[in-house]
Symmetry: D2
Subunit: 265 residues, 4 copies
């Protein structure tokens, strides 16, 4: 496979931004001339960047073994929580717009990516889990699959309880800190979704035994498992992270590979 790192100017973020990508190897591309590849957008956690998944996990090897025909795109989104910042310089820091629109458009122009929702997934860890679910639940027309690994799955709770992030939260959500019943409230979004007629993404929810965000993930699990929706969950050993020996990441990639290939049939 090909591991590439590059940058481009993002109008939404208002500056040059970096990305790392895994592209299929020749043995795949040779057999599939002119093919458009399925795509996984993979989002980093807070304090991390676009290179973190290559450094901290065996992502490259896992993709090679489990799903070598997928393209993985890892953008750099700072410690942004992937929201459009409030009250900021109007030409910048629109991270949600970046993830949901501009990144999709640019990467589909630069690489041979399928434009179909059943070929497009978004997943992330911790802060990236929040970003991935936000993108996927608000844009089911773009993403067929969405998932979270030890994710921040309850932002109303975070805003109410994590005082040390107060200033940051006000930049993310506005001075009134309203998150409940908005595009950043997953309970609300799922409630809307199951009552709508529109397309719905399949959801993958990966938890670990000793996650410090375990409580909100267990509550989210209790909520989701009863609903009539396409919901898959796993719980692996490990602290806040990708699961012991990357078990959560491996579980997700195996699930995604199975589901995307099923679609093909």
């Amino acid at each position: 496979m090909s591991l590439v790192t590059g940058d481009f100017y993002s109008e939404a973020i208002g500056m040059y931004t970096e990305f790392t990508a895994i592209l299929p190897e020749e043995s795949i591309t040779k057999k599939n001339k002119g093919k458009k590849y399925p795509t996984l957008y993979l989002l980093h956690g807070g304090l991390h960047d676009h290179t973190s998944m290559i450094r901290d996990t065996k992502l490259y090897k896992i993709i090679g073994e489990k799903f070598p025909e997928i393209v993985v795109i890892m953008p750099n989104c700072d410690f942004s929580f992937f929201t459009d910042y409030h009250g900021d310089y109007k030409y910048a820091y629109k991270f949600k717009s970046f993830i949901c629109d501009e990144l999709i458009e640019i990467t589909r122009a630069l690489f041979p990516l399928s434009h179909k929702r059943e070929d497009t997934a978004i997943y992330g860890w911790s802060m990236g889990g929040f970003g991935a679910m936000t993108a996927g639940l608000n844009h089911p027309e773009t993403y067929g699959y969405v998932g979270t690994q030890c994710g921040m799955v309850n932002m109303p709770w975070a805003v109410a309880t994590r005082d040390f992030l107060k200033v940051k939260h006000s930049i993310m959500f506005g001075k009134d800190l309203k998150v409940k019943d908005t595009e950043y409230d997953f309970y609300y979004l799922i409630d809307q979704m199951i009552n709508s007629d529109g397309v719905k993404p399949a959801i993958f929810h990966s938890r670990t035994e000793e996650d410090y965000l375990g409580k909100i993930n267990e509550e989210f699990y209790e909520y989701c498992k009863e609903l009539r929706m396409d919901y898959t969950t796993i719980k692996t050993l490990g602290i806040h992270g990708w699961g012991k020996d990357d078990a959560g990441l491996i579980g997700f990639i195996e699930w995604l590979s199975g589901r995307m290939k099923e679609e093909v049939k």
Copy 2:
């Protein structure tokens, strides 16, 4: 020479941040075993990043020809203007602290850099010119040489006239937008400096014929040239940039090389 790109976690910025560096080649290091190298911190402009100077100029070649024994460090500082953000999450976005303290400390720990002020310079283009002058005029104990290339040399003017940046300015300088007579007002800083007994950096001021920031640069030139201080200026062909065929950058590197080598004698 060695061209390296990497990243590290910055406590001041609150996330992983990237840098690009030029390190001396073997022919230099062989002759100077155990030597600590002079250092140039080189700051990018707005909308640019740590790789811009490699892409947009012949920096690498110029260093090779004019000053191959210097280490050049180019940090990534977003569209930050190199200030410590006001009202922000307290663990993050302290770009001035990053440039003036943390970056110095980290790079001196990772590379064999001289700790002497007469071996340390900071220079930048446009927004980076503002950052470099802010760092150098406030910290003459760290930097012996400071300079600006088509720089934003009059921030009180910018705050008063560039309305589209109002929100950004309030993040940078606080809601009252006070810049005059502060650590970000170069006229004030220079006035303080020439009346102090402390060490003073040598200043290099590079202007171009058609810079859209030409007016404030010409005014700054008129101000500086009359003062009793170590001030050098050049004016080259070109628009807002590094000068036609990098003339401004070349002029600075030649001047810096001459001055640093003079110190050695």
Copy 3:
């Protein structure tokens, strides 16, 4: 534009190999959804690598100004002269096969490149000029444009006179060092070409005033200018390199842009 660096496994070279590429920016890709881009394969000189053109020239800026809709691919080919090595481990060091086949196939699979010969160019400096002309003259069905910048345009002369490279030449051309009237002899190839009915590449020949390879380039110029073929030449100030202030590189990009856009009409 997007500047990316990555690697992939090359069967022809027998190992992982790196490349750097310039991809079009959003303003281009937005207007041209689904477009396949014209491509320039740009080859480095001896002792250099895939990053040299970014470091040593203003290529990135020149492309941005003169031809922002082209994709530039710069492979790393060691000090190989872009030949298939003789007497080597049979799974490796097939640099000519790499440039002429595998690289084309892989890059067209990974990026949205036009497959048309009138959208495909190959150019190189010094050793890379030898590689580019070898590729282009032997494969006019792939490349519509071929060129050389201060190139090694007379390999029979090199083999006969550059004794210090004798061992290297025997690896490149076999123990008998036969180059004349082979696929590595440009005089022979051009002679064949002008007498054939097949498609023919347009040739761009860039020379400098003080090139240490000036003699063979002037002789080649004298030979080419009299022939009925699509031949353009420029001579700029400068030593062995890209021309003073990149004049040779700029001349080529301007010519290529003009020619490729003419084709479109």
Copy 4:
């Protein structure tokens, strides 16, 4: 920690060559101002490159958890087996000289590395295991620790039995293919070593259950375990590689950390 990638010109290899390095993080460097760091030179396998260990293992995370104060240097050495090529262009392809001399000198000039043998280790996987043992057994004055992970530990056997590599072997060892009782024969080198009075490196030998090079590794183990030397071995689950879940790599880093810290006391 800082993950950097760069390149420099190697006189021994005769071209620009790349490296990746892990440098200590601020929390380490702050406590140890002016410290010279212990160093691990880590060599890739055949068909791989300097980035492979970052992609294929959790090296970065393992170093962070087990030995964050070490610097890890990973050079790119092609499919070279880390030997000085025979019959080659005399200015190039001296990979053994590169590893044993030039790389040491350059990295010690560019980074704050300890020059002591008790702070210097070399390790490698497969082909890199051959390179690491070759370097360490021939240069005990440089390396205090040497090791091999699923390594090619018996080159006389390889030359005698691996016919498909015959041409490559003749480039590496000369036309007569003499390896036995030379600087590339580990049995011979160890025999010399235990009968000498000089300093001796500690040896770490990591094997896996299903390595296709298992036979020669078991034989080497049988040989070493009886000798009076500083020899440590582990055998983990896994095929030819770093051990299941990187067990071999983790075992080595834990051993090295313990041994180097013991030295300090």
